[in-house]
């Protein structure tokens, strides 16, 4: 397995009791959650979630099973409406927005259980991601006006360009549902990137991958961040990946934030070790 070295930014504290990379100081944070919470009946699934992500930060969200990590993603993308608290995206309040509007504002995501448009081709999956980037009306499409051909050509070229990030352009005509598992996960990331986000949410991107594939994924996540100059927030159980590339890390347990900080802070935090990494003193890697 190839060793992958990644130069993380120096982390500095910001007023909202979080840390962001020093290079992102002075730019508005891409995401700021204040006292975010949701109740399912009597269950406080997430409570008092405060987190700030810098403009080009790779952040991690970890915690044991059932801690509420995916619920946080669903809150950020408005699949659930938060019971309490606010979400600021590039300084703009997202309350009252729908999932589709949130995507237009700049959050794109992948899913823990892969959700591709499995009956459609790989290229069409990416083109659906480009839905709001190359717009023309249904009438223009049915009548095949010149704008249809122009925009379709541009969308096709863009789709192939995005697929080539993961060297998947030769799969363009394959049916998405028939792709190997790893390629399906990569296609989900490409589809999310096609929507031109400023914050990419990855829900367990390395699940089911072998160590070599995981190492490649780590490189690709950093590559995507550098290419598109976007922030990435990822949920992951693979500690090698989280500790390797995440600059700021947030640990959830039973819906509560139990620790925030850099990989080193988290590694040494006794609460985290007890709640998540097992018995005291165990090496997380």
């Amino acid at each position: 397995m190839s060793e992958f070295h990644f130069e993380k930014g120096k982390m500095v504290p910001v007023p909202s009791h979080s840390i962001i990379p020093e290079r992102d100081l002075g730019k508005p944070p891409v995401l700021e959650c204040n006292h975010l919470g949701i109740d399912f009946g009597g269950l406080r699934a997430v409570d008092d979630f405060n987190f700030t992500i810098g403009k080009t930060e790779i952040a991690g969200l970890i915690g044991p099973n059932g801690a509420g990590k995916t619920t946080v993603f669903n809150l950020l993308t408005k699949v659930y409406a938060p019971t309490r608290g606010t979400i600021l995206l590039n300084g703009m309040d997202t309350s009252g927005k729908t999932t589709a509007q949130i995507n237009k504002m700049g959050i794109a995501r992948t899913f823990q259980n892969i959700r591709l448009f499995s009956n459609l081709s790989v290229e069409d999956n990416v083109k659906i991601g480009l839905h709001n980037a190359y717009k023309y009306s249904a009438l223009e499409g049915v009548l095949r006006l010149p704008s249809y051909w122009k925009k379709e050509k541009a969308a096709h070229e863009r789709a192939i360009e995005l697929l080539s990030i993961f060297k998947m352009e030769y799969m363009a005509d394959w049916q998405a549902g028939n792709l190997p598992y790893g390629a399906q996960r990569r296609l989900e990331i490409v589809r999310a990137l096609a929507t031109n986000p400023c914050l990419l949410l990855l829900d367990e991107p390395a699940a089911g991958m072998n160590p070599a594939e995981t190492a490649e994924l780590m490189e690709n996540i950093v590559k995507i961040r550098d290419m598109f100059q976007i922030a990435v927030l990822l949920i992951e159980h693979d500690m090698k990946l989280v500790m390797g590339i995440c600059e700021g890390i947030c640990v959830l347990n039973f819906g509560q934030v139990i620790a925030k900080g850099t990989a080193e802070d988290i590694r040494q935090n006794p609460t985290v070790i007890e709640a998540y990494l097992g018995k005291r003193g165990a090496d997380p890697c």
């Binding site: 448009f117 049915v142 051909w149």
Partner: protein, 355 residues
């Protein structure tokens, strides 16, 4: 550009256009040289209307992935509004073809409006509510039309509900006569018109499916949550597909109405809706060519050579439907079918090369 034209999907669509055009020319030659029995000639236009209805329902069921159990209701709206317009304007628009076109347009527009009214509350919900609401819609339309009285006199159209006495003036003419429906219709629709509407529907469906809107609609079918997460407006695209589908069913209804001597509300009942659904399911969900073939075969056969069994038609369709679903949803049977289809074999080998 070249690649877009040569894509497999596009080639398949052109084959479908070709099949329809060839079938039209063949049947036209057969009927004009007198080699076709008059009974069969009388079936040509109704067959066209069932093909259009099947295509339109396939847009809702196969492409959008929502179940509609009241498609005959939209046909009914199209038939009664279209025929009424063609009869009311008999003096104003003398050319029969112009009245027929007008009838089809009015039928399509009113059915689209009905589709919009039905769709706008229902398509916002998650789950199979559309099936329930369209089922009710079909029955409601049937009851409404059964109790509807429309007449024409010198002062214009007169409407009445439940009460046949709508106060027609001197020389007035009853058009829609409640439970008796419309009678004495001039048969305006022709086989060529049916063919042209089929082609128009095919072009609309194929061009829509291979465009931004069509991809959004299919994305909603395949995975609604993922579609929302990439910024697709769920209600807008569901409504778009459903309204277009209703409009096509309305056009089919108008065409059908103008091919009969009389139309009554009972013609467009639940059985008709299910009949169209059987065409779609047997032809293959999302497969337009299949819908055309299934509608043609399943409509012509019981009306002609299998006439003596036509009483058992619905029973037989139910059995065929159940068997089709069982067979196509069994993994073993599917893998056998996959092994037999040449294009699937090719696709699999291509994938093996790369993996």
């Amino acid at each position: 550009m070249k690649r877009l034209i040569m894509r497999g999907e596009t080639r398949k669509n052109f084959i479908t256009y070709g099949i329809v055009i060839i079938a039209y020319v063949l049947l036209l030659v057969l009927s004009s040289t007198g080699m076709m029995s008059s009974a069969l000639q009388g079936l040509l236009v109704p067959t066209c209307t069932y093909i259009i209805a099947a295509l339109s329902l396939n847009l809702t069921v196969g492409v959008l992935g929502e179940l509609s159990l009241g498609h005959a209701g939209f046909m009914s709206v199209g038939a009664f509004s279209g025929v009424t317009v063609s009869m009311a304007l008999a003096d104003v628009v003398p050319a029969p073809w112009a009245r027929m076109v007008l009838a089809i347009v009015v039928g399509a527009v009113l059915a689209a409006a009905a589709g919009f009214v039905v769709g706008i509350p229902v398509l916002r919900l998650r789950g199979d509510y559309l099936a329930i609401v369209t089922l009710a819609f079909g029955e409601i339309i049937k009851t409404v039309v059964t109790n509807l009285y429309v007449g024409k006199d010198s002062s214009g159209l007169r409407l009445g509900f439940l009460d046949p006495n709508i106060g027609l003036g001197q020389g007035g003419m009853m058009i829609v006569n409640g439970p008796n429906g419309i009678s004495g219709i001039k048969k305006l629709s022709t086989f060529t018109a049916g063919f042209l509407v089929i082609m128009l529907c095919l072009i609309i469906i194929f061009n829509m499916v291979n465009s931004r809107s069509g991809r959004a609609i299919m994305a909603l079918r395949d995975n609604r949550i993922a579609a929302e997460s990439v910024g697709i407006n769920v209600t807008k695209y569901k409504l778009m597909a459903f309204v277009v589908s209703a409009a096509m069913a309305g056009a089919a209804g108008a065409l059908y109405g103008l091919s009969q001597n009389t139309v009554t509300a009972n013609k467009f009942d639940f059985n008709t809706s299910i009949l169209i659904l059987v065409f779609v399911v047997l032809g293959g969900l999302g497969n337009m060519r299949g819908s055309i073939i299934a509608a043609t075969v399943l409509y012509i056969l019981p009306e002609t050579w299998l006439r003596q069994f036509s009483d058992y038609r619905m029973l037989l369709y139910a059995v065929v439907l159940i068997v089709t679903m069982l067979v196509t949803n069994t993994n073993k049977v599917r893998s056998v079918i996959d092994r037999l289809l040449p294009h699937k074999i090719k696709a699999r080998e291509e994938e093996k090369e790369h993996v």
